[in-house]
């Protein structure tokens, strides 16, 4: 092989390395954005734009018959952002499957964030019902991105039945506590055959950077941006943190040592 083709091979490899691929679809941004809790549709749209994301989550709820004009979807440019409907509110597999089918009827796309949370206080996902729903939805042709506790055994079972990703939580939804499940997420990443998206609980850009440095493929952020003092600025901060964390992961850590390791030479000192 001559040098020229070697170089072009290298740059092709670099391009590949930097892209996230989920179910055959390529994403250049590794930050996904939730659309809940924004003060207005306008601030939501500006924050989405500032984040550089290419995928946004939405929920399904009954139309408010007293206020039928409210339509947040109009604020999202569907040419720029892939809609990822969630099954929030589902307490079991049956409810999640019903919401999934409604979401597909509404969007004419089959991507789905599967979440089953029976308990409204802690909002922790139900592993048994999530696996049950995932089995049904994968068979029905959905691209399933399941929200799960950071359980390596469950993550493996889900990827084995054909989910497009696994999305373990960092800490409870909306808690902003950061990476409380780090040790379990390390195992999930180590055995992953599908992209690992860290979802829920990342409260600051440093948390997102830490997740990306560990080798997570992407993160999903909602509360930390939507309820920040300046959501648009926070969206931009998360964008930079996710990029920095990913680049650090690709660059490779130089490792942690127990003792000092001088950066300046230990010879040639100006003394006798």
């Amino acid at each position: 092989m001559d040098t020229k083709s070697n170089l072009s091979d290298l740059s092709a490899a670099d391009d590949m390395k930097d892209k996230l691929i989920i179910a055959g679809k390529e994403f250049s941004s590794r930050l996904f954005i939730g659309t809940g809790k924004y003060a207005s549709n306008k601030i939501m749209a500006q924050s989405i734009e500032a984040s550089g994301t290419q995928m946004v989550t939405v929920a399904l709820r009954r139309v408010d018959i007293q206020n039928p004009q409210d339509n947040m979807l109009a604020a999202i440019d569907r040419k720029k952002y892939l809609l990822l409907p969630n099954t929030s509110g589902a307490r079991n597999a049956d409810e999640a499957v019903r919401l999934a089918r409604l979401a597909r009827a509404a969007t004419e796309i089959n991507w789905l964030k599967l979440e089953v949370t029976p308990d409204p206080y802690y909002l922790l996902p139900d592993p048994v019902e999530t696996l049950k729903a995932a089995e049904i939805l994968v068979k029905e042709g959905f691209v399933v991105l399941p929200y799960i506790n950071a359980d390596p055994v469950l993550a493996k079972k889900l990827q084995d039945i054909g989910t497009a990703t696994v999305m373990p939580l960092a800490s409870p939804i909306g808690s902003n506590q950061g990476l409380k499940t780090k040790a379990a997420i390390e195992i999930i990443i180590a055995q992953a055959t599908v992209p690992v998206v860290i979802d829920a609980g990342l409260g600051m850009p440093s948390h997102a950077a830490e997740a990306m440095e560990m080798g997570a493929d992407a993160v999903l952020i909602n509360t930390a941006i939507a309820t920040a003092g300046d959501p648009v600025k926070m969206a931009e901060a998360f964008k930079k943190a996710v990029q920095a964390g990913r680049e650090a992961f690709e660059a490779g850590s130089s490792g942690v040592k127990n003792q000092a390791d001088a950066s300046s030479p230990l010879t040639g000192f100006l003394r006798d």
Binding site: G34, K37, A59, L102, A106, G174
Partner: protein
Amino acid sequence: MAILKINGEDKIFENSVPSTLKNLLESLKVDEATVVAEVNGQIIPRGNFQNTILRDGHKIELIRFVGGG
């Protein structure tokens, strides 16, 4: 008098219920492009709203996207 159960609540009509799902959405001032509907537990594709005949006692769910994480 006729009744439709819409999103869990009874809605009473003086004479008869709107003849189709499309007519119901118009009477409620709901933009059909923004909703997905179920009639008696069956999902109605958006193109079929006009052909979906409503009768007294039908259960309707009108659902749309809202912000969520």
